[in-house]
């Protein structure tokens, strides 16, 4: 038994260790999974913001490109109107340069040779222009050309040139005008491209030289840079924003709240886990305790069985020899002697009763009390019990009255049923003072036979009533009054009544009396 207990506890402990491991793995996986999702979602949100920022750069680049083309179209239209003649007059060319408000301009023939330049500034566009400038070469080939920053003037303003091919009476020619960015709305476009207060934007040429700029660039880790090419020429737009500003929509609560929730979730998980462990633990404890209780009960049952068994043989001898003595087998017995022998016999009879009770208790414990059921008339049972109790009742001048309301018939084991009723009646007489009254009532109610035994005896204190059917329990007034008894009778009576499918209950008031109610199933009534 102890070994089995030990194994059971070990098995439970093993099971607990397994569930601890499983719980930790599960919790880690869940929390880890959540963390991955949060990180991913936050990264995605930032990526989306960066994409939006890049898109804004691309839009600025498109805007600048279309303005550049618009400017080029104006150049072409004006050139075709003013410089259409085969020979281009100097005056017409200079008028055009002024009209377009250019810093400088050149006209090339279709082979790229210089036809006019105004004002004559070699540092600005070069004399062998077609050979040295990509934008002029593009225009000679028939496309719009846009130059890199050509020459910063003394004031620091960068100069760029836009070269366009145009048709004249002398065939295709090229007009290229140099302008400072202030002549175009580039800067305004750039400013519009950056609504973020801390952002900066600029337009740079293919070598990275700044054509126009809005705000200052920091170009370090705290900033994000987006670049978008302008289609015409090799220019590009660069946008820069402080990361703190760019990521503002996914900062603050958006960033820390998921982690806070995740932390809370992890703590809740751990708490739950702990509770489950404690539950498992207490289950083990309860299992152990219930085993211990079962063991103690078995010890008690074994004791009852052993005590009952060991009492029997010596009692047989005592009772037998007393009987022989009183019969005169060993010589004549004087009345005085017989009186003493009778007292011994009476007490021996009490011991026999105890041994018998212990035996029935042991049989009930082992589930081996067999019932031989037969139909029994309740009023006869009651009368027989009353007769058993009558000698004692007479001695105490207790009035015993029987009231039977018709004779219900029960299905019961005669000996056992009599034992139960006897127990109730003798108890009533035993626990009722002299000149008291005991009333036995038998009647039929709702398919059961009811036998009530009412007395006006010492009663049972309220706080002890719930223990009255416990084996070996005796109520305080019975013990204080030194009334003999073992505390076995009622517990056995209750078990026997229940074995019959019946029950025993009572109402009692200390000092006023008790009423015990036995219910047994009627014969011939299906259960």
């Amino acid at each position: 038994m102890a070994r089995a207990d030990h194994h059971y506890v070990r098995a439970l402990a093993r099971c607990s260790r397994r569930s601890i491991a499983a719980g930790i793995v599960l919790l880690t996986l869940t929390v880890g999974g959540f963390a991955a999702v949060v990180v991913h979602a936050q990264r995605e949100s930032r990526d989306a913001l960066e994409e939006r920022f890049k898109l804004r750069g691309a839009l600025a680049a498109r805007f600048i490109d279309s303005n550049l083309r618009e400017f080029a179209r104006t150049e072409v239209a004006m050139a075709q109107e003013k410089l259409a003649a085969k020979r281009i007059s100097r005056g017409a060319f200079e008028d055009l340069v002024d009209e377009l408000d250019l810093q400088a301009a050149v006209v090339l023939d279709r082979r790229g040779r210089l036809v006019h330049v105004y004002p004559r500034r070699n540092d600005l566009v070069g004399t062998n222009a077609a050979a040295s400038y990509a934008h002029l070469q593009a225009a000679v080939a028939g496309r719009i050309g846009v130059s890199d920053v050509v020459t910063p003037l003394a004031g620091g303003q960068p100069i760029v040139a836009v070269a366009v091919p145009f048709a004249s009476a002398g065939g295709r020619r090229v007009f290229s005008g140099a302008l400072g960015p202030q002549a175009t709305p580039f800067e305004a476009f750039l400013r519009d491209a950056i609504p973020l207060s801390s952002g900066a934007a600029r337009l740079v040429d293919s070598r990275g030289m700044v054509i126009s700029s809005s705000g200052r660039f920091r170009r370090d880790d705290s900033t994000f840079l987006a670049t978008a090419p302008v289609r015409t020429g090799g220019w590009r737009v660069e946008l820069e924003a402080a990361k703190s500003q760019l990521y503002a929509p996914v900062s603050g609560a958006t960033m820390w709240l998921p982690w806070l929730l995740l932390g809370g979730f992890a703590i809740a998980g751990l708490a739950l886990f702990y509770l489950v462990l404690r539950l498992l633990e207490s289950r083990t404890t309860i299992a152990n305790r219930s085993r211990e209780i079962t063991r103690l009960m078995r010890v008690q049952q074994n004791f009852v069985a052993a005590a009952s068994h060991e009492l029997r043989t010596p009692l047989t001898a005592v009772v037998g020899f007393l009987d022989l003595l009183r019969k005169g087998t060993a010589g004549r017995v004087t009345p005085a002697q017989d009186e003493l022998l009778e007292a011994a016999d009476r007490n021996a009879a009490r011991l026999v009763e105890l041994a018998s009770d212990l035996q029935v208790a042991a049989q009930l414990d082992a589930g081996r009390l067999d019932l031989h059921l037969e139909p029994l008339a309740v009023d006869e049972l009651v009368k027989e019990s009353a007769e058993t109790a009558l000698p004692t009742a007479r001695e105490k001048r207790i009035e015993v009255e029987i009231k039977t309301d018709g004779p219900p018939t029960v299905l019961a084991d005669r000996r056992r049923a009599l034992q139960v009723v006897n127990n109730l009646v003798t108890n009533a007489v035993k626990y009722t003072p002299e000149d008291g009254r005991v009333e036995i009532r038998a009647y039929r109610r709702n398919g059961t036979a009811v036998i009530e035994v009412a007395d006006n005896g010492i009663g049972i204190p309220r706080d002890e009533q719930h223990r009255l059917f416990d084996r070996f329990f005796r109520a305080t007034p019975a013990r204080v009054g030194d009334i003999p008894g073992t505390g076995l009778g009622l517990s056995i009576a209750k078990s026997i009544a229940e074995l019959h499918g019946g029950s025993i209950g009572f109402t009692s008031e200390e000092g006023r009396g008790s009423t015990f109610r036995l219910e047994l199933p009627l014969a011939g009534v299906p259960e």
């Binding site: 029997r312 026999v352 049989q363």
Partner: protein
């Protein structure tokens, strides 16, 4: 001639008690105190009935009954069982051929009346 009763009982006081009760009722008695000697005494004394205690040293009453039943001359010998054991044991003995059983503690001349009933019947 008086009937002879063989009492197989390990407790000396119970043996004496039964001796007094049975002889007072006019029976002859013979005794055995354990299962091993029971058969020998039975052969020697040729009893008309055996009062058999179930709890005996060196093999219990069931062993004695089994041995008796295996011997043709004792096959019909009536046995009354007395026992301090659970009544279910007594019932078992009856199933195995005992005429009846009496639980200890028995009162007064319970055994004598039973012996008289069995022998008279």
């Amino acid at each position: 001639m008086a009937s002879k009763i063989l009492v197989v009982e390990d407790d000396q006081d119970i043996r004496q008690l039964l001796h007094l009760q049975l002889t007072a009722a006019g029976y002859e008695t013979a005794f055995a105190s354990d299962a091993a000697s029971a058969l020998g005494v039975a052969r020697r004394e040729r009893p008309n009935l055996i009062v058999l205690d179930l709890g005996l040293p060196a093999g219990d009453g069931f062993v004695v009954m089994e041995r008796l039943r295996s011997i043709p001359e004792f096959e019909m010998l009536p046995v009354v069982v007395i026992t301090a054991r659970d009544p279910s044991e007594g019932e078992k003995a009856v199933q195995e051929g005992a005429r009846s059983f009496i639980s200890k503690p028995f009162r007064g001349d319970e055994v004598v009346s039973e012996v008289r009933r069995v022998l008279g019947g």
